[in-house]
Amino acid sequence: MATSELTLPRAAAGRPRRRRKWPIHLGLILFGLVLLYPLLWMLASSFKPTAEIFTQPGLIPSQWRLENYPEGWEALRHPFSRYLMNSAMVVMGAVVGNLVACSLAAYAFARLEFPGKKLWFAVMLGTIMLPIHVIIVPQYILFSQLEWINTFYPLIVPKFLATDAFFIFLMVQFIRALPRELDDAARIDGCGHFGIFLRVILPLSVPALATTAIFTFIWTWNDFFSQLIFLTSPDLYTVPVALRTFVDATSATPWGPLFAMSIVAIGPIFGFFLAGQRYLVQGIATTGIK
């Protein structure tokens, strides 16, 4: 809709401009290279001997050192697959938790009437802006009294309690745009609220659910602060915490293997990015999440 409005007059007026466009492209490409150069450099460095990383800014290694990967994999107390598994468990728990709990709450805010709705909605919006640092100390005390420190519970259970309120808001906005007639039709067919939620709203909310899942994945995968605080046993280290101990482990950091594992660490996010870039970009454009 908006695109046709935009492209039509542009195309008509475009001809005299087009000739001057190649400098823009050149600039944009150069700028993109500068932006991505650190990433490319890290990728290249993961194949270089450590000594060579220091001496040359170029991308192509003089000799390809594939051993950085197996060396980095085995450099810590556990093989890196352990940390990947730990991260995967935390992330899966967080994704499922956010999907279930946030969609339930969103249905209530979008479709149901109850006393104090406006107030609770405002409270919910308020919690989006709350810095985690404000609540981390009492949370730590609470979880340590439950003997949950050094388990994945502190990282997963809150998600099942819809503490990532941002996603509630996202889904409320989405559900509000769905036609209410569908609910009424389902009601006539004998559905209660749970039936409407399960059979009408959820199937139609797949874009919002996917956005929630993708961003929960990325945030939890990248999250360092809470994993650093709640997981102190090396058996339970997630990828970011393990990477951090890699840096601090020795005074002379083996940069080649470290970069190899850094590539492994951002691999899943990069994979998501390649697979769903259009989706990710749309998600952020409409919702404002990172």
Binding site: A2, L6, P9, R10, I24, H25, G32, L35, L36, P38, L39, F54, Q56, P57, A101, L104, A105, A108, L112, F114, K117, W120, T127, M129, L130, P131, H133, V134, I135, I136, V137, P138, I141, L142, F160, L161, T163, G192, H193, F194, I218, F224, F225, L228, I229, V239, P240, V241, W255, L258, S262, I263, I266, L280, V281, I284, A285, G288, I289, K290
Partner: protein, 327 residues
């Protein structure tokens, strides 16, 4: 009429329902309607019960808990001991508290405007009907996805090291760069660059906003003889103020909470010479390094007040510069 009318309206789930003719069958309809309301309520409490539990246990409880702890001396080992305003008084005499505030404010107020400036500039360029826009947009957005990860912070530590990539490039043009991350005067700038590097996400939001501006405004302006700068100044900027405001609030809140980058780049110390001692890093050191939980809670409350205050100021100030189309 007024009394019953307002009650009706308050309890009616669908105010838009067509008025029904008054019929003798009032009792059954009433019952059905109130039955629906009660059913709604019951379902709402049920659907919201996880969120309510989370709000009580994970959010509001801990907020009140940290408020209480901020007035105590507590090391986790013995019961909290009430010390009144001592923690807050301690802050006044704590040079590292002031350092962390200065570092954080410098970081936020230098990097966020730069980041948003870059984002707007690139959005403007990309919005000029360049072919391949989705590719550029995606490439520029990628750093935003990775920016908060430990891997990138590690990369930064290396890239801005004494023999790192940045200095190798500078050496080509004959500049001998400092050991950025190991020099107190320069360490923070490497983190500012890191935040600016993640300009992609506000850029995407700016792009979406630019698309909403009808092209006919520009055509009309062109007819009136307005140049590119005039068009930007008189059309783009005012119509974009709600988006600028949105990005500003979001990025300010984000930047205040930065932790990972400073933690990794400085090895958890906030060094060299506390030059990257972000407020959240100091809070972490007090709370989880020294188990000085009372003081950490007080720090957390000051952070909350700063962020809330700044957001409030933002919203108040927005009345004077944010332009909504319907005014």
């Amino acid at each position: 009429m007024t009394a019953t009318g307002s009650v009706e309206q308050a309890t009616d789930t669908q105010p838009a329902a067509p008025p029904r003719p008054p019929a003798p069958a009032v009792p059954p309809r009433r019952r059905r309607r109130t039955g629906r309301v009660a059913e709604d309520r019951r379902a709402a409490w049920l659907f919201l019960s996880p969120w309510f539990a989370g709000l009580a246990l994970i959010t509001i409880g801990p907020i009140l808990g940290s408020l209480y702890l901020s007035f105590t001396d507590y090391s986790l080992l013995t019961a909290p001991e009430w010390t009144g305003l001592d923690n807050y008084r301690r802050m006044l005499d704590d040079p590292r508290f002031w350092t962390s505030l200065r570092v954080t404010f410098t970081y936020v107020f230098v990097s966020v405007p730069l980041q948003l400036g870059f984002a707007l500039l690139l959005a403007m360029v990309l919005n000029r009907g360049v072919r391949g826009l989705p590719i550029y947009r995606s490439i520029y957005y990628l750093p935003s996805l990775l920016g908060s990860s430990v891997a990138i912070a590690i990369l930064w530590r290396r890239v801005f090291g004494a023999e790192g990539l940045v200095n190798s490039v500078l050496a080509i043009v004959g500049i001998q760069g400092p050991g950025w991350v190991s020099h107190p005067d320069w360490a923070l700038s490497s983190l500012i660059v890191l935040n600016v590097w993640t300009f992609g996400s506000p850029m995407v939001i700016f792009l979406a906003g630019l698309r909403q501006i009808p092209t006919m405004y520009y055509e009309a302006a062109q007819v009136d003889g307005a140049g590119a700068w005039q068009q930007f100044r008189r059309i783009t900027l005012p119509l974009l103020t709600p988006i600028i405001f949105f990005n500003l609030v979001l990025q300010l809140i984000n930047a205040f909470q930065s932790f990972t980058q400073a933690f990794i780049v400085s090895g958890g110390t906030g060094g060299p010479a506390d030059s990257t001692l972000f407020y959240t890093l100091y809070l972490y050191q007090r709370g989880f390094g020294s188990f000085d939980m009372g003081y950490a809670s007080a720090l957390a409350w000051v952070l909350l007040l700063i962020v809330a205050g700044l957001t409030a100021v933002n919203f108040l100030a927005s009345k004077y510069w944010v332009f909504y189309g319907d005014e």
